[in-house]
Symmetry: C2
Amino acid sequence: MIDGHTTLIAHIGYPTHSFKAPLIYNPYFGQAGINAVVVPMGCQPPDYPALLKALFALSNIGGALITMPHKVSTVALLGEASVAVKIAGACNAVRRDAGGRLIGDLFDGEGFVRALRTKGFDLGGAACLVVGSGGVGSAIAASLAAAGVKRLVLTDTRKDTTEALAARIRLHYPGFDVAVGGNDPAGFDLVVNATPLGMEEGDPLPVDVSRMSSHALAGEVVMRTEITPFLAAARERGCAIQVGTDMLFEQIPAYLEFFGFPITTAAVLRGLARLPQSA
Amino acid sequence: MIDGHTTLIAHIGYPTHSFKAPLIYNPYFGQAGINAVVVPMGCQPPDYPALLKALFALSNIGGALITMPHKVSTVALLGEASVAVKIAGACNAVRRDAGGRLIGDLFDGEGFVRALRTKGFDLGGAACLVVGSGGVGSAIAASLAAAGVKRLVLTDTRKDTTEALAARIRLHYPGFDVAVGGNDPAGFDLVVNATPLGMEEGDPLPVDVSRMSSHALAGEVVMRTEITPFLAAARERGCAIQVGTDMLFEQIPAYLEFFGFPITTAAVLRGLARLPQSA
């Protein structure tokens, strides 16, 4: 029940119609007895800097969840950016510190890596191929580097973008084994589709799945369908899989910790288990 | 359930702790199947103009409820002000028109007058005394003038403020019988306490109730206790009474109509009947 003591979490993007966060966080807040609410705010790019500033002047602001089309433009508005934000050049969570500075982080990659850990995946020993160097691919690459995987190869048709991403990772993780390569999945322990391939009927697969090791894990970012053609082919081959929404749900505890809410992962997961599938 | 289609009604003031509107409107929206949410926003005066502008640039903004300390400063930010706003010099409701202009209205007085009508009070024949020419007294005076009462007398220790209020009423309602006078309630059909007297233990009464006609109605704006000493004394004398929260609850349909929600008074009142008393 929203009242005069409620903390506001602004969920900012445009358009808002497909927003899922209010459906995920608000029932959790209700169940956990946290007096906070996630509220969608449809904001177009020219209006965004002034909105962010005005919201973070509110006495009851708890933070902001940032989504398209503001994830990149947010970076320039921060007082302090996490390493993930600096590497990916994007931000999806903003809070205010005690001094009023805006602190930004990016939890897409963190959610992806937490989901791998939940599955017992051996990150420290893993050779990883991330296909796609856009926003979500950059975030996942940054978090795999932070998690200390054995080796990371990035591939994308946009060679310059990918080289620049690798350079930013090397800058923040000196000595880490990161390279730009092709999209042959042979020899990798983790193969991530971080491209939009799989969103549309008839899309080609992001890699030649017949070249994947059967002990590899296939990770997906596409959420439109749970089992994308890439995941279906990998599963057929005997691979473990990680669906797109795992990344989304495993971000939740990271977000809540960032915003300073009392939280345990177990409590979140108990809460989520009660959510409707549509969330 | 808040989702990506939810309309935002910002409830702006500072501090927010005593806000009641979310407790009133949100259960009503839920019951009436209206996908909208009233969200408290604690905003200090220097930050207010930028906040209002940023909020009304949102694609899903439905309007704003404005409370202290912004009711007066809002007037200068409007593109169009109602007569009640112009007379009272205060605004408690803002919406955006199709062209993007901010439209402001003030519903305190409207709520007070609607509550009188609900009681079957004969407004057209009434001589009315309003004690207190501050924000709420001005709003009630403006709405009594709009309702066409027979005669209106304003009284306050601040003589200049009261004269200025009477002059604004005359400007907007030429020929209307409004005067500044003393606080003797004798001969009035309606006596309104629009002062804070009654909020604190031991406050004096706003008028000498022994001089009130027993057929008069005593109206109150103080909400801290339902039956204030003024109302208790008037009731003792045989007068009809109107409690402070009547003004609040009778504003609700006016607000909802202003924001463009499909609404009937009957539906609102059915919804309110289910509210906890604390709301």
